[in-house]
Symmetry: C2
Subunit: 356 residues, 2 copies
């Protein structure tokens, strides 16, 4: 009820309840060894005084802090989505989340923060898609660690999306629409996800007999600007692709700008498909066809796994792979087909005469 100035301590409560600190501790932690009446009274007093256990002391005393650390680069939308997801998945548990935001220039977190986290939290969820050496320095810790999207060799449970399958879906979709000359804007190949998506692209090229000039693959590094530049390159080709698959939504957005900047239109002149399904994908115009990463499920899986590990239960599988899903919106269209724009009234955009 009353929000006290300084948060009260266990011993204060114990004093008022006229019991030892230990009894108070037991009562509050729901442990045996306290009669029901005393427990009730202690709980009442604690409530009354607005007692909150000091996690710092709890942790130092060898206990748990009930805090889960998240290491992430907040810069990319997709990562933010995941962090948010973890937060809401955690909200139904008794854990809190504290995020360490890695600078975009750092490829690995400073040693300091790693040990800080190690000291304070009960478990760490790492969302760095790097092959990160520093993880090795964590591996010998007793601290549970779960990794999301981490591609490399390691000994932690790993939550990943099925990037390969997702990319295949995207290409299949474009092929189904009649596109045979598809450009690919690749991602940061340091990341396993980028490599998987590119591998899928090349496999599908072969499998479906698509055009496979090497110039059809341009790196966009998962960045807006990278996507812009890459698309510019693709548009400069002697024979222009009729569709572009970008390895993530951000570079797809960049590509869209580049296409417009070149006087062409999506999807009339060029179909465009992204990957991730970040929030803006549905919000840009035209809404982006993309492959949806199951970020909410991934977050939930990560949370479940780490909570289990904290409880001492080792995860059944080292890798949990979640399926991806194609989301068809307005940026992809059958080749050569002239459809009216999905406008409310009658707005005429240039109808495309597709160039061979």
């Amino acid at each position: 009820m009353s929000t006290n100035k300084r948060s009260s301590t266990l011993s204060e409560i114990a004093k008022i309840a006229e019991v030892s600190v230990m009894t108070a501790s037991r009562a509050l932690n729901n442990q045996p060894g306290v009669s029901e009446e005393k427990r009730a009274e202690i709980l009442r007093i604690a409530e009354d005084m607005g007692y909150v256990a000091n996690r710092v002391a709890q942790r130092l005393s060898g206990g748990k802090s009930r805090v889960i650390g998240v290491i992430a680069q907040l810069h990319t939308l997709y990562t933010s989505d995941l962090v948010l997801g973890i937060g809401s998945a955690l909200r139904s548990s008794k854990y809190e989340m504290l995020v360490y935001s890695l600078s975009d220039t750092d490829s690995q977190p400073p040693q300091a923060i790693v040990s800080l986290l190690r000291q304070f939290v009960d478990g760490i969820i790492v969302i760095l898609p790097f092959q990160s050496d520093y993880l090795i320095s964590l591996s010998d810790a007793d601290l549970p660690i779960v990794t999301i999207d981490e591609g490399s060799h390691d000994n932690f449970p790993k939550i990943v999306a099925d990037n390969y399958q997702g990319a295949r879906l995207a290409i299949q979709h474009l092929a189904d629409l009649g596109h045979r000359r598809i450009g690919f804007i690749s991602g940061n190949n340091q990341l396993a996800s980028a490599r998987d998506r590119e591998r899928a692209f090349r496999d599908m090229q072969a499998q479906l007999g698509l055009d496979d000039d090497p110039e059809l693959v341009v790196n966009g590094n998962f960045l807006q600007q990278g996507g812009f530049n890459a698309a510019k390159e693709l548009l400069k080709l002697p024979v222009r692709p009729t569709a572009i698959f970008a390895a993530n939504d951000i570079s797809a957005a960049g590509a869209m700008s580049a296409i417009r900047d070149g006087g062409l239109t999506v999807p009339e002149d060029i179909s465009l498909v992204g990957f991730d399904d970040v929030a803006v994908a549905s919000q840009i115009y035209p809404a982006l066809t993309t492959v949806k990463q199951p970020s909410a499920q991934m977050a939930r899986a990560a949370v479940n796994t780490i909570v289990a590990m904290i409880a001492g239960i080792e995860p059944a599988t080292a890798v949990i792979m979640l399926p991806t899903e194609l989301v068809v919106r307005d940026s992809s269209r059958p080749m050569g087909e002239v459809v009216e724009m999905p406008f409310s009234k009658g707005s005429r955009k240039k109808s495309t005469t597709t160039v061979a």
Copy 2:
């Protein structure tokens, strides 16, 4: 050098150095009372054993944890920008940052996290633009708190951008371009920033004698979808506005989609100006004219202030207001003027015919 399994403790180091724990502590904390030779040796040993001070213990022992807590809603781009800015501003200091991400449904952080933070960190930077009651519960703490963008009554130092002036600049810009019928997509009026921007709009309407039909103001709630809907409303007006000022970039982006969806073009048919200058503002097409929030400076100011407060120095002013700045890009254009699209090469910036 050697990365030890379990991080070593002070007493281990002291034992090896054959000194007391206290001497080791003094040496490592750069405090007097240790001879230079011993200090050097202790430092060497500590380095050698990969010693890292246990912040949890430091903090519990009444010391500082050298950690700054940040409470923010990571959902909005602008907030993320600020958090990132705080992170990089902190990187040059000896503090680390831990972020608590508030759920978008919560308007206030759970009591638990507040006390958790209070227990562990040396200071808190709050980036909630709410009039948040919970801040009051913090106010009696001994913990330094700095607020960014918080509009309400409170007793903490506050870092804000000059929203009023910024919005005036935006309107003035549109007026200079000849627009006299300007629609306004307002923000979430719970936020002081939104109120300031709307006030500026109305003041300028009066001051410049612009059209001031009440229908020219539609709420967009700072959201993409809200901006979309609001713009739809504005376009439905019997006499359409020739320019739209959105209270933030996100709703401007929504408005842009709506305008396109209505078969019109930015900036040919409608000039559009946003607010914030989040990263995507320059990345959407056409690049958005907007008012730049000095988020990097704000972050730096917040960090400097909190660090000073932790050191016991009360800030000189309760409110630090940083100037905003108009960034003219491609989404605004003189009324009625027909300019070629600013494609690849020669994008000429509009020459302004200033109207009284």
